[in-house]
Each structure stands twice: as C-alpha cells, then as structure tokens.
Symmetry: C2
C-alpha cells in the first residue's frame, strides 16, 4: 500500500450558493463539494480541512485547505483533476505536496480579507452577490483614518459576535486599508487570526462611521470599553472575500 501524503490546496469559490465552508447535514457546503470531488477522483473518503470556516455567502479567492491521500496522482495535478469534478463556482487554483504535519487551520500565520461596498442610491445588478449595498454617501477618508485605530495588538472583545467561543479575544491586525473607486469602497484587513464575525463587525462599524452614525473614534472607544454595543452592525456576509492565507515559507513550498 502506498504511503499517505498530505496535499495543500488553494481554493477559490463563489459563496452565493453555499451554506458556508463547513460540511452540514442538509445544506450544500464548499467542504462537502471538495470531499465529493476527491471521492470521485481517488475513491478515498478523505476529510478536507480548511484554514477558515467561512460563513454562508462569504467568498474566497485564496482559501487554503489540506487532505491526506494514498493515491498515486502527482500533488500538483490535483487542481486540474478536481476542477473537472467540481461545480464551476468552486475552483482549486493550486495544489502542492505539504509536510506531513502541515495543518491548514492551525498552521496559518496570517489571513487577508477584503470587504466590498457598493455605495450608491441604487443596488448593483452586476455585483449584487459580491458587494454590500450602502445608500448614504460614505466619507471614505474618515473611514480610512478610523480604520487605523485597530492596527496592532488589542483586545477585540467588542468585535466578537455573541456566539464567539475563542479563549482569548486578543488579536493583532497588521493591515486595515480602505480605498474608493467610484461607487466601490474596498476594505482590506490582514491579521494572524480573527474572532468570529470580526471583519464584518469592523466593516459595519466603518460604514456607520462613514455615515456619521458613529463618531470617528468609535473603534478606539470600543477597544477600550470591550462593548459590542459601542460598534456598528455586522455587515452582510456577501461583501466578504477571503483573499489569502499565509504560512511560514517552508510550509508553503
């Protein structure tokens, strides 16, 4: 019998039709789609572990995942072979051999998310599944400045959804950029890891700051108070895309 190998995948998906990354009993998930394609390809019932368990409607351009296989398929061929078996809203964009102890979730050293807002009196027809619609004209410069308040290591207790089960709520944000391009406002956030709904609560709070519904220093104040009620709404899932998961160099090669 062949030895088991661990394969790392980079996966992109349109989350619109999925109940999220994680396998569920009665709803379609990206994880189940990948596992089904793997079963069809290798005959093995392999579990696919993702770096981030993205919510229903959330997209990915660079989700990372791993699985183990005893098949003889060359590691880098898995992307092409799986794509012929996957629905067209899920694409494996890279596959490579990983170290036996590589773990897509526990080994992740950083993640980048983007949040897209369609800032216009009317919703977007073309980007309706990728951008959250905000009607009042947002002050992007104000939002950009406010975003800087979350940079660095802080207790992000106020930015955690009610159901958050993290032991510690201390996180480090290494990037919080914001740009406007016509009706599009795009927030880019990087950090080692995030609390549940943290990026969407940050996006919703920045939207409130940009509308004047929260003061420009609301993020800093919420970091001090630790109170979720000092922040804005949880921005809708479909505006969020997982862009990249980072590992230490030797794990990525």
């Amino acid at each position: 019998m062949r030895e088991s190998r661990r394969i790392m995948l980079t996966v992109s998906y349109d989350g619109t039709a999925y109940a999220g990354w994680q396998r569920q009993l009665n709803a379609p998930s990206v994880q189940a789609a990948l596992e089904r394609a793997l079963l069809s390809l290798t005959g093995e019932a392999a579990a696919v572990t993702g770096a981030s368990r993205t919510d229903a409607g959330v997209h990915a351009l660079g989700q990372a995942a791993h699985f183990d296989t005893r098949s003889s398929i060359p590691a880098e061929k898995f992307s092409f072979a799986l794509n012929t078996r996957l629905p067209d809203d899920v694409r494996v964009v890279d596959a490579r051999l990983a170290a036996p102890d590589f773990h897509a979730r526990y080994g992740a050293r950083g993640k980048t998310y983007r949040y897209q807002i369609h800032n216009s009196p009317h919703a977007s027809a073309l980007y309706r599944h990728q951008r959250a619609h905000v009607i009042p004209t947002l002050d992007a410069a104000l939002m950009r400045n406010a975003g800087r308040d979350v940079l660095g290591e802080h207790d992000f207790r106020a930015f955690a959804a009610a159901g958050c089960e993290a032991k510690s709520t201390v996180r480090e944000i290494t990037e919080a950029g914001l740009r406007r391009d016509g009706e599009l406002i795009e927030l880019t956030v990087s950090g080692r890891s995030f609390l549940y709904n943290m990026v969407r609560i940050l996006a919703g709070s920045l939207i409130y700051i940009g509308m004047g519904k929260l003061p420009p220093d609301a993020l800093a104040a919420a970091l001090r108070s630790g109170n979720r009620l000092d922040l804005g709404f949880t921005a809708p899932a479909h505006g969020l895309t997982l862009m990249k998961v980072r590992y230490t160099a030797h794990e990525e090669n």
Copy 2:
C-alpha cells in the same frame, strides 16, 4: 389627458440570465423586464428603446434607454419606482427628463465597452460570469501595443460578424486601452458606434496576438485586407460589459 414626456434611463444589468437586451418571443430579455416593470408602475404599455442591443450574456453598467409616458411620476423618481418592480439583476441607476426628440439609439454619440479576461491555468469561480477564461499566459504589453492599430477611422469590414447588416463598415475607435491586474486583463474600447460583434472580435484577436497565435500586426493587416479570416475568434459574450453611452451635453441634461 396629460402630455406625453420622454424619459431617459441609465440601466445596469447582469446579462447572465438574459437572452440579450432585445425583446424575444420565448426568452427573457432586459427590454421586456423593463417594459413589464413600467406597465406595472404606470399601467402603460410603453416600448423601451435601448442604445445598444446587447447580446445574450453581455452585461451593462451604463446602458441608455428611453420611453414615453403620460404618467404624473416625476422623471427622476422612475429609477426608484422601477427598481422595486425589477428583478435584482436589472437596476435603473438614473432617470431624467429628456427632450421630446431624444433617441437613445440614434442620438448616441459614443459608447464605451470593457472586455475582461481571466488569464490563469484555472477558471475563476467568483468571476466566471464576467470574465472570459484564457489559459495560456498572455503578453499584455504586446496586446496593448497591437490595440493601438485600430485607433482612428478605418474600414472595419474584417471585424464584422457574418450577419452584420450595416450599410457602411467604416467606424472610428477613439480609445483602445488594455491593463493587467494580476490574473485580470481588461480591455477598454470607445467609439461612436460599433459593427455587430466588433468588440468581441477585437478582444478575440488581441487574445490570439497575446498568445502568439497571430502576429503583432494582425489588426493592421486585417484593416487592409478586410478579411475576417485574418483575425482571431469572437471572444465569448460574458466577458463584455457596456460601460457608458454618450450623448451631446444638451441631450444629457
């Protein structure tokens, strides 16, 4: 009875679910969706005339259209009122009073289209309905230079689809820009008007030039020969978006 007014609309749509702009007997069209929404709103069976009869799968961010109405609804309220009656893949993003002789199609002084290419070994999950997938790595600088050959007034006979019924095949291209942003290659083309499939044939020919399947001077040669066979394939419809239709200033106000 109220006097008839002519209203100009700016319309954006995701063309994925439509057989094109134009009303058809047994297939959904953007025109029919707008006319149905107008009937529901005003009780009038008004014909909506579009600037461009975009093909099945082609998108629009700035299609222009007009219709006549005797309703008392203020011109600028039509966007909001129609949007509540339209499917979410069609949005009226602007509505205004037009001159009685304004004509969205015959009055158009210029149009801008963009063509998006996903240049990657794997198709895009997230942008699969908006970008044409091209696997071989394209030489964008070569494509950008070649694109300049179509600038100005030329006989574009070679760039016309077989079914083209235009009396003259002379057209003027005022812009042919190309940029690469990672896996995205975006072509922007402006002109007063275009022959049927002209932008898609230009996009397909630039793709062939970028792949080395056509020489860098193929566009210039085809302008001289007038032969469709000297050009590349007709790039798929879903990569194309009508960005803007231009009118003389007094018609736009």
